[in-house]
C-alpha cells in the first residue's frame, strides 16, 4: 500500500543516462495493483522509456482518469507532477495543462473503461485537436476496480469470468484514433517489453497526438479461457507488423539491430524511428492503408501490433492556436495586463 515507504537507497553502480539520472530516479511509489497485473509491466516500460530518452523526470506531466490503470501514474516518475482527474475526463485536463505549459512532456494513462466508455467523447476530441501528448490506454477489456464488468473494448463473444457472453460490438481504439487524425498510433502488449518500450520512447518524442493501445490482461477478472484479452489469447493472436528502435538525437548510433527491411523516420525533435518490417505489406506512414490492414486482420481475429502509423511532420494544437513561444503560465503582468490608456480608448468607444 502507499503507506509503505519505498527505500530510496541507490546502488552506486546503477547505470546513468545522459542527464546523470539512474533508472531509480524514474520510479514511483509502490504499486497497489494485483500481483502480476499487466499495468505494472507498462509502468516499468514507461520508467525505462523515460530513462532511455534522457527525459528530465520533472519535465514530465502525468495525467489519468479513474480506474486501475489511472492509479498507475503514482507508481512511476515521482519527481513529475501528477493529476488524477475525474472519470473519463483526463483528456480535457491534460489539454488545459498543455495549453498552459507547452514546455513539458505530456503523458496520459487511461483504461478501456475510462477511454472507450465514459471518456470516449473527450478521447475523440483530444485526438482531433492534435494535443501534443502520449496517451496510453491500458486495455484489459474489463472493469477491474468494480470487479469484472465488460468494457466497451470487450470483443463480441468474449466470456466474462462468471461465464456471461458479451453481445456488443467492441470499440477498436486504434482504428478510431487513425480516423480521428492521431499522428502516431501504436498497439502493443504489456507482456512484450521489447516492443512496448520503443513505442513509448517514439511516442514521447513525437510532436502531436500519440495513441498507444496496450493490451494488458487483468489477472483477477479477465485472464480465463474464453476471454479475448487473456495472456494466452493475445500471445496466440499477436500479429506484429514491425519492430522498432528509437534513436535519440543525442545518443550515439548503436548498430546492433536485427536484420530485415529497414525504414527510418525522423521525427520533429530529431529522434529517429528505425522500423524493421515484419509484415511485408505494411507501410507505417500510410494512414488509409493502415486502416484497411487493421480491418482485414480484425476480421481474421488477429491483433495487429507495432507502430501502426506515424506522421513525423505533424502539427499540434499550439501551432493551430498560434500561441507565443513562452508558455502561457510564464507570461508576466507586463505581457498580460494592457495599459490604462487602452481601457480609456475602450471607454471612449462605448459612449
Amino acid at each position: 500500500m502507499t503507506y509503505i515507504a519505498k527505500p530510496s537507497l541507490h546502488h552506486p553502480s546503477l547505470e546513468k543516462n545522459a542527464l546523470g539520472f539512474t533508472r531509480r530516479d524514474y520510479e514511483g511509489r509502490i504499486s497497489t495493483l494485483c500481483a502480476g497485473c499487466g499495468h505494472d509491466s507498462i509502468s516499468a516500460s514507461i520508467v525505462q522509456a523515460c530513462f532511455e530518452i534522457d527525459l528530465a523526470p520533472h519535465r514530465l506531466a502525468k495525467f489519468s482518469g479513474i480506474g486501475c490503470s489511472s492509479k498507475t501514474p503514482d507508481y512511476f516518475v515521482s519527481p513529475a507532477h501528477g493529476f488524477n482527474a475525474v472519470h473519463g475526463r483526463m483528456p480535457s485536463v491534460l489539454t488545459g495543462a498543455n495549453i498552459a505549459a507547452k514546455d513539458l512532456i505530456y503523458l496520459g494513462v487511461s483504461g478501456d473503461g475510462d477511454t472507450a466508455s465514459i471518456g470516449l467523447g473527450q478521447f475523440a476530441h483530444a485526438v482531433r485537436r492534435g494535443v501534443n501528448m502520449t496517451y496510453v490506454v491500458e486495455n484489459n477489456g474489463v472493469y477491474g476496480l468494480t470487479k469484472g464488468q465488460f468494457s466497451a473494448t470487450s470483443d463480441r463473444g468474449s466470456k466474462a469470468k462468471k461465464g456471461a457472453e458479451n453481445k456488443d460490438s467492441p470499440i477498436d481504439l486504434v482504428m478510431l484514433a487513425l480516423q480521428l487524425g492521431a499522428t502516431y498510433v501504436g498497439r502493443s502488449f504489456s507482456g512484450d517489453k521489447t516492443q512496448l518500450v520503443p513505442l513509448i520512447k517514439g511516442a514521447l518524442s513525437h510532436k502531436g497526438t500519440a495513441i498507444l493501445d496496450v493490451l494488458s490482461p487483468c489477472v483477477a477478472f479477465n485472464n480465463h479461457v474464453g476471454s479475448t484479452k487473456s495472456f494466452d489469447y493475445i500471445r496466440e493472436h499477436n500479429d506484429a507488423v514491425n519492430r522498432m528502435d528509437v534513436i535519440s538525437p543525442r545518443a550515439p548510433i548503436r548498430a546492433d539491430y536485427a536484420p530485415g527491411e529497414l525504414k527510418e523516420v525522423v521525427q520533429h525533435d530529431g529522434s529517429i524511428l528505425r522500423l524493421r518490417k515484419v509484415a511485408d505489406d505494411y507501410d507505417s506512414t500510410d494512414r488509409n492503408a493502415a486502416l484497411g490492414y487493421l480491418a482485414r486482420k480484425a476480421a481474421e481475429g488477429e491483433i495487429v501490433t507495432g507502430l501502426l502509423f506515424v506522421d513525423p511532420d505533424a502539427h499540434d494544437l499550439h501551432d493551430g492556436m498560434n500561441t507565443v513561444d513562452t508558455p502561457l503560465n510564464k507570461l508576466t503582468d507586463a505581457d498580460l495586463v494592457p495599459p490604462v490608456s487602452a481601457l480609456e480608448k475602450i471607454n471612449a468607444s462605448l459612449r
Binding site: 503507506y3 495525467f63 507532477h81 475525474v86 480535457s92 495543462a97 498543455n98 467523447g121 487602452a342 475602450i346
Partner: protein
C-alpha cells in the same frame, strides 16, 4: 389627411373613423417608456439601438432591454427603452409609446400601452377599428409604402423600414436629425455604401411625419445627465475584466446567454494580447461540451495559467463533478455563469437569478463555492478581473454570477477603471528558488494559519516540489489516504479557508433609510436599478427601508448584523424558490420568519413598480398580522 389626435387617416378608409378621447394624452419630457415590437431576424436591432444612442447623446439616461426569443428568424422580439432624466435605469413597467411592427403580437402590444399612451403602427394596409383602443393615441405611418417607393431589393425593404420608423419617431420626440445622421455615419464606418441608403430611409420617415403628424406629448430634451458613463453589455465588460485580470485561457461551449462573453474575450485579446510577431498571448478552445470546458480550465489552472469558462445554468449542471474536484483538490478556476430561466432548458433568452443554490453547493459531498454578484457592467469588469486573483489565492472555483439582463443588455454604467500600479496576485506559489533555499513543501499544509496552502507549478524543480493531485482523499502532503483523521483534517481546513475568504470578497453596499426603520431590504445583482427606483418611490410613499446589496457569497458578518438589526428584512430576488433567502437561512442560522421574500421570476427583468407593489402589500398584510397578534 386627418390629423386629429396625431393620427394620419387615409382618405377613403371608412373603417378608421375619428375616435373620441376618454383619457388625456400622456405628456412627459425625458421620463417615459418606448417599446418596439418586432419580428426577430428583421434587422430591427440596429435601428432600435440607434434610437437609444441618440437619446444618450442628448445627455438623457436610458435603460434599454432586448426581449428576444430562442430563435433565429420569425418569432416576436421587443426592445424596451426607459428614458429617464432622473437616472432610473431598471424597468419601470408599463409602456407610453408602442412601436407595433409585429402583426403576431399586435393584440398584446396594444393592450400593454398605458391609458393616454401612444401607438405607432405601419398604416400601409388599413386595419379595422376593432384593432385599436379608445383610450390611446393612434399614429399611423405608411412605412411599407414609403420604403417600397424607394427600394427594390426585398431584404433592403425590410431593413430600411426600421430606420424609417426611427425617422418618424425622431420628429415625434424632437430629435435633432443631424445627430441621428452623425450616429449612422459612425455605425457604418467602414461600410460606407450603407450610409446613404440609411440616410434616405431615415429622411423618408422624418419627412412624412413632419408633413402629416402633429408632435405628441412625449419629448426628449437635451440634458447633461449622462456624464462620462458608457453604454455596454455585462458580458463584454466581464470579458474585458478577464483580459485585465490576466486570464490567458478560455475554454467554452456555446450557450445562450453566455456566448458573447467568449466572443468578447476573443475580440479584446486579438486587440490587446498579440506579441510583436503577431503571436497570441492567449488561447481559446471551443470545447466539445461544458464538461470538457471546465476540465481544460482545471488543467490550465493547475499548471499556473489563469483560465475560465463561461456558461449558463445547464452548463453548470454538467460541470458539477469538476467543480467538486476543484473544491477538494484545490484547483483555481473561474466560471462566469450568465443565468437564464430554468429549470431544464427553461427559457434560454429570458433572465433569472435561479442558479444561486446550484452554484453555491455544486457537486456531491460537502462542498461550497464563492460567488460574486456584479450588479452592473462596471462591476462585471471589476469582478471579472478580481475573480482571477481570488481563484489563484484561494485555489478554488470562483463563480461570477451574471444574468441575461446584465450580460446581454447594454447598460448605461460608470466607465471602466484600472489602477496601473496593481499587480496580479498569483497566490501562494513556491518557485524553484524557494525550493532550492530549502523551503519545505507539503501541498495541503496550513503553513500561515489562514488555511490556504502553498502549491507548485509542474516542472518547477528536478527533485523537489512535485506532488500528485487527486480527487480521492489525501493527507496534507497530497498522499492517498483513507485514514479518517487525514480526511477530517483536510475537510476542517477547507472550512477554515472558507472563513478566511469572507474577509477578501467584495463587501456589501448599504443605503440607510432617511429615518430609523425596523424594516430592511436585501438584494443582489441585476435587481439593482429597479430597487434603486423602488426605494425612491417607497420613500415618497412614506415607506422607509434600509437596504443592503450583497455582492458575494460566503456572506460577511455585516450581512447577518444587518438582519439582526431589523425586525423584518425583505429579500428581493429573481427566482421562484427564494434561493438567496435559503442561503441566508442556511449559512447564518437566520430565523426564516424574519426574511420576507419578494420574488419575480417570469423571465423578464424585475421592475420598480413590481417591487413597490409587493413590498407595500406585504407591509400592509404584515402590519395587520402584527395587530392581530397583539390583540
Amino acid at each position: 389627411m386627418d390629423r386629429r389626435n396625431g393620427r394620419a387617416v387615409r382618405p377613403g378608409d371608412g373603417q378608421e373613423a375619428h375616435r373620441s378621447f376618454m383619457t388625456k394624452p400622456i405628456a412627459a419630457t425625458n421620463d417615459f417608456v418606448v417599446k418596439f415590437a418586432n419580428v426577430n431576424g428583421s434587422g430591427s436591432a440596429s435601428a432600435n439601438g440607434l434610437f437609444a444612442k441618440v437619446i444618450l447623446r442628448m445627455g438623457v439616461p436610458v435603460g434599454a432591454r432586448n426581449i428576444f426569443p430562442s430563435n433565429i428568424q420569425g418569432l416576436p422580439t421587443w426592445y424596451e427603452v426607459r428614458v429617464s432624466e432622473a437616472g432610473w435605469l431598471g424597468r419601470r413597467g408599463g409602456v407610453d409609446l408602442m412601436v407595433a411592427m409585429n402583426p403576431q403580437t399586435w393584440v398584446g402590444d396594444v393592450q400593454e400601452i398605458l391609458p393616454g399612451g401612444y401607438l405607432l403602427y405601419d398604416s400601409s394596409k388599413p386595419l379595422p377599428a376593432s384593432k385599436f383602443r379608445d383610450d390611446i393615441n393612434v399614429i399611423g405611418a405608411p412605412l411599407t409604402e414609403l420604403i417600397a417607393a424607394e427600394f427594390v431589393n426585398p431584404r433592403e425593404r425590410q431593413l430600411f423600414k426600421n430606420i424609417c420608423y426611427v425617422g418618424v419617431i425622431s420628429h415625434l420626440l424632437g430629435f435633432d436629425p443631424e445627430l441621428v445622421k452623425q450616429l449612422l455615419t459612425q455605425e457604418f464606418k467602414g461600410k460606407d455604401k450603407l450610409i446613404q441608403p440609411n440616410f434616405k430611409a431615415f429622411e423618408l420617415g422624418r419627412a412624412y411625419a413632419e408633413a402629416n403628424i402633429a408632435p405628441i406629448g412625449l419629448k426628449v430634451r437635451t440634458s447633461d445627465k449622462v456624464g462620462d458613463r458608457i453604454f455596454v453589455e455585462g458580458n463584454d465588460a466581464a470579458a474585458l475584466g478577464a483580459v485585465y485580470g490576466g486570464a490567458t485561457f478560455c475554454a467554452w461551449y456555446p450557450i445562450t446567454p453566455s456566448t458573447s462573453l467568449a466572443e468578447s474575450f476573443q475580440k479584446y485579446c486579438t486587440a490587446l494580447r498579440k506579441d510583436g510577431e503577431g503571436k497570441n498571448r492567449f488561447a481559446i478552445v471551443q470545447a466539445e461540451d461544458e464538461i470538457a470546458s471546465i476540465g481544460m480550465v482545471m488543467g490550465a489552472g493547475w499548471a499556473g495559467s489563469r483560465a475560465f469558462t463561461c456558461t449558463s445554468g445547464p452548463g453548470i449542471s454538467l460541470m458539477n463533478e469538476f467543480v467538486g474536484f476543484s473544491y477538494y483538490a484545490e484547483i483555481p478556476a473561474v466560471i462566469f455563469d450568465v443565468q437564464r430561466g430554468g429549470p431544464s432548458t427553461g427559457m434560454p433568452t429570458r433572465t433569472q437569478q435561479s442558479d444561486l443554490m446550484l452554484a453555491a453547493y455544486a457537486s456531491h459531498g460537502d462542498t461550497k463555492h464563492p460567488l460574486l454578484f456584479p450588479a452592473n457592467p462596471t462591476e462585471c469588469f471589476e469582478f471579472g478581473a478580481m475573480a482571477f486573483d481570488l481563484a489563484d489565492f484561494f485555489q478554488t472555483t470562483i463563480f461570477v454570477m451574471l444574468d441575461l439582463d446584465i450580460g446581454m443588455q447594454e447598460w448605461l454604467t460608470e466607465p471602466f477603471k484600472w489602477d496601473a500600479t496593481k499587480k496580479l496576485n498569483r497566490g501562494k506559489v513556491l518557485t524553484y528558488e524557494h525550493l532550492e533555499q530549502g523551503v519545505e513543501f507539503g501541498r495541503y499544509r496550513d503553513v500561515d494559519g489562514d488555511a490556504v496552502p502553498y502549491r507548485t507549478y509542474p516542472g518547477t524543480h528536478p527533485t523537489k516540489g512535485s506532488y500528485f493531485t487527486r480527487g480521492s482523499s489525501h493527507d496534507k502532503d497530497a498522499r492517498y489516504s483513507e485514514r479518517g483523521e487525514d480526511y477530517t483534517e483536510g475537510m476542517q481546513r477547507l472550512l477554515r479557508k472558507w472563513e478566511t475568504m469572507k474577509k477578501h470578497l467584495p463587501a456589501p453596499i448599504v443605503r440607510a433609510a432617511q429615518r430609523r426603520t425596523p424594516d430592511g431590504v436585501l438584494y443582489i445583482g441585476s435587481t439593482g436599478p429597479a430597487m434603486k427606483e423602488a426605494h425612491h418611490t417607497l420613500d415618497e410613499l412614506g415607506i422607509h427601508l434600509d437596504s443592503m446589496r450583497i455582492r458575494a457569497f460566503p456572506f460577511s458578518d455585516e450581512v447577518f448584523e444587518f438582519i439582526r438589526n431589523h425586525e423584518q428584512v425583505f429579500v428581493v430576488e429573481q427566482n421562484r424558490d427564494a434561493q438567496l433567502k435559503s442561503l441566508l437561512v442556511n449559512e447564518g442560522g437566520v430565523h426564516p420568519a424574519r426574511l420576507v421574500s419578494v420574488l419575480h421570476y417570469d423571465g423578464t427583468p424585475i421592475t420598480a413598480r413590481f417591487i413597490v407593489k409587493d413590498i407595500t402589500e406585504k407591509l400592509k398584510a404584515g402590519h395587520a398580522t402584527l395587530r392581530e397578534n397583539a390583540q
